[in-house]
Subunit: 365 residues, 2 copies
């Protein structure tokens, strides 16, 4: 059977999002016969040695690429990052301590809402006053908070933390990195908990990477249903029950590709170049393109901007689509346009978009 | 690129399990380009019209194949059937009413354990006295139970309900059908809730099909975290947050194939033939093969049996493997051998196993 590969679009969707082409090709190649087993990866037992090897390799790649110390446990969970919105307070709560959050947009708010089911929540900083166009720089968490929660990158608004807020050593900094995990080098030791839905920067939908410093497993109340406890999953290397095998496999293939590029330090350089190409178009457009995010808070992953009128925005999205550039419509909370340029977006795609935007301005201003 | 398809084994794994070859081929064909989008299904937004169409088709197939009335809502959830072990009592609990279960094995016990986190649990019948080799026939649920829970097919022991226990009209019968959903025609109106991890009979791991009669959504306590409530998911057709897109897609392809065969009535006939082939080998072996399940409770899906000695069992498993028959080792709770012959197992695979078992007996008895 001959398969014709027609990868002819640049996909700027915010998530699920573009995946590395070599990862997709590998998945296609071995879809019917995983490593000589005569079966698809989707058909083999999660207790088989073939699956176990793949699963361990996926976790090993996360550990290696993020340079995680040994006391950080990696879990591959289901339910999306949204399920961590309740698993975080459930697993980290402490009697008579407040749970503290920074509100940088819709996803922070959703996290805050779930926190309130478990106890006293304090929102210590917010950028809601200017439609979440910046990351607050006056963040002060209490010294005795149960945990401090931030949303590392805000997909909708195109803002990203470029330095981490300070926390007292006994307060675990907890970060939703769904839309920028591994976009740049970080020091994992600054965090107690990192979680990320895979479908933006490291894989397909259906799996959430959760990384927890192991001293934090002891906090969860005894009378908690088994699968709601992180430690249930961590103790069994995410094999307490059948996991999202295919999604983990796709993460593995995607992370292998990231490693082949030189890992996170290498992709950070590329990401900074990619983002600069687009922000330069905005900044050199004499106001034709207006960035939503304030320059100091600009995201490397999601570039959000408006045009002079909503008619021009609609026209630009349609013309982009006709040139094979998909997913450029902004989120309804901000309007306008959004280009999501995750790790798997090649620099050629970003350059094609930049060229198109310059041309569009010339013709339409 | 030429892809050589080497589907040369018969896969008797209990789950994740064999999938229909036409479904796998279709997935392989369009892995890089889903229906002319130029993107993989894994890369397209769950809010795109292409994804929405596929998602609706998957749900439509479930409705059609199971002949579900309009007041039954279909959900594609994450977390495995094991997550339903807590979601069932959480969502169906009622003040001062007991939650009632039948204990037919390890998976029933796990469900019962999670029920106890939410209130008073009553186990009304059990087959633990004979290592779960039968389905109790003296099941009596209370007239005022909050719900009545059964495990429809017991993968480990090879037992299956062939008639459903009676419940009072106000008591929702709740069934874990993970290992036999759509193996035979059922009357869905007998049930309040049906749930099934996909990875045995309808798709890959990573998604759980949950079907709930809509009058039951009102029971969940107000102060419940958003994603733990069935109604959150049902109201948004399982698109409240990003779902396990690929796993749903594979279910769709697998159910399309089931429909092409003639749906559940047709597969039921095939399943009965397949099971009879293996049970006849056991029954005609003069005791060389001993079935674990009592004849009246025998499963159509999992055929469990022992040989005269554990050495012979090990030999039989190894020889089977050398002939391309994978996954025949029994679960440690029962020992011996297990052939899982789900909907996607072709009758040729079952016949090959039967022939091998007869030959093995001749040579080794």
């Amino acid at each position: 059977m001959v398969i014709i590969m027609t990868k002819h679009v640049y996909n700027f969707y915010a998530g699920p999002a573009t995946l590395p082409l070599p990862a997709l090709k590998k998945a296609q190649e071995e879809l019917l016969d995983f490593q000589g087993t005569g079966m698809s990866l989707m058909e083999i037992s999660h207790r088989s040695k073939e699956y176990a090897k793949m699963h361990a390799e996926a976790s090993g790649l996360v550990k290696e690429l993020m340079d995680l110390p040994d006391d950080y446990k990696i879990m591959w969970l289901q339910g999306g990052a949204s399920s961590q919105f309740y698993m975080v307070p459930l697993n980290l709560q402490q009697k008579e301590k407040s749970m503290e959050y920074v509100n940088t947009g819709v996803w922070s708010k959703k996290a805050i809402k779930e926190g309130r089911f478990y106890g006293d929540v304090k929102v210590v900083a917010s950028s809601e006053d200017e439609n979440f166009s910046y990351i607050p720089n006056d963040i002060e968490f209490s010294d005795n908070a149960a945990f401090a929660h931030i949303t590392g990158n805000n997909t909708i608004y195109g803002t990203e933390y470029h330095e981490w807020p300070k926390v007292s050593s006994n307060v675990p900094l907890t970060c939703d990195m769904s839309s920028h995990i591994m976009d740049k080098v970080i020091d994992p030791k600054k965090f107690g908990v990192i979680y990320a839905g895979a479908q933006k920067n490291i894989g397909p939908a259906g799996v959430t990477l959760v990384i927890v410093r192991e001293d934090l497993f002891g906090r969860v109340p005894e009378n908690t249903p088994t699968l709601q406890k992180w430690k249930t999953h961590a103790e069994k290397d995410s094999l307490f029950n059948t996991g999202p095998c295919w999604a983990i496999y796709m993460c593995k293939l995607s992370l292998e590709y990231l490693k082949s590029l030189g890992g996170v330090p290498a992709i950070e350089k590329i990401n900074r170049k990619k983002a600069k190409i687009l922000y330069d178009v905005i900044d050199n457009s004499s106001g034709f393109y207006r960035g939503h995010a304030k320059p100091a808070s600009r995201s490397l992953m999601n570039v959000t901007f408006n045009l002079p009128t909503s008619e021009l925005e609609a026209k630009c999205i349609t013309e982009g689509l006709s040139r094979g550039m998909v997913g450029l419509k902004g989120h309804r909370s901000v309007g306008g346009m959004r280009a999501s340029i995750y790790n798997a977006m090649p620099i050629e795609g970003v350059q094609a978009l930049a060229d198109f935007l310059k041309e569009f301005q010339e013709k339409n201003q």
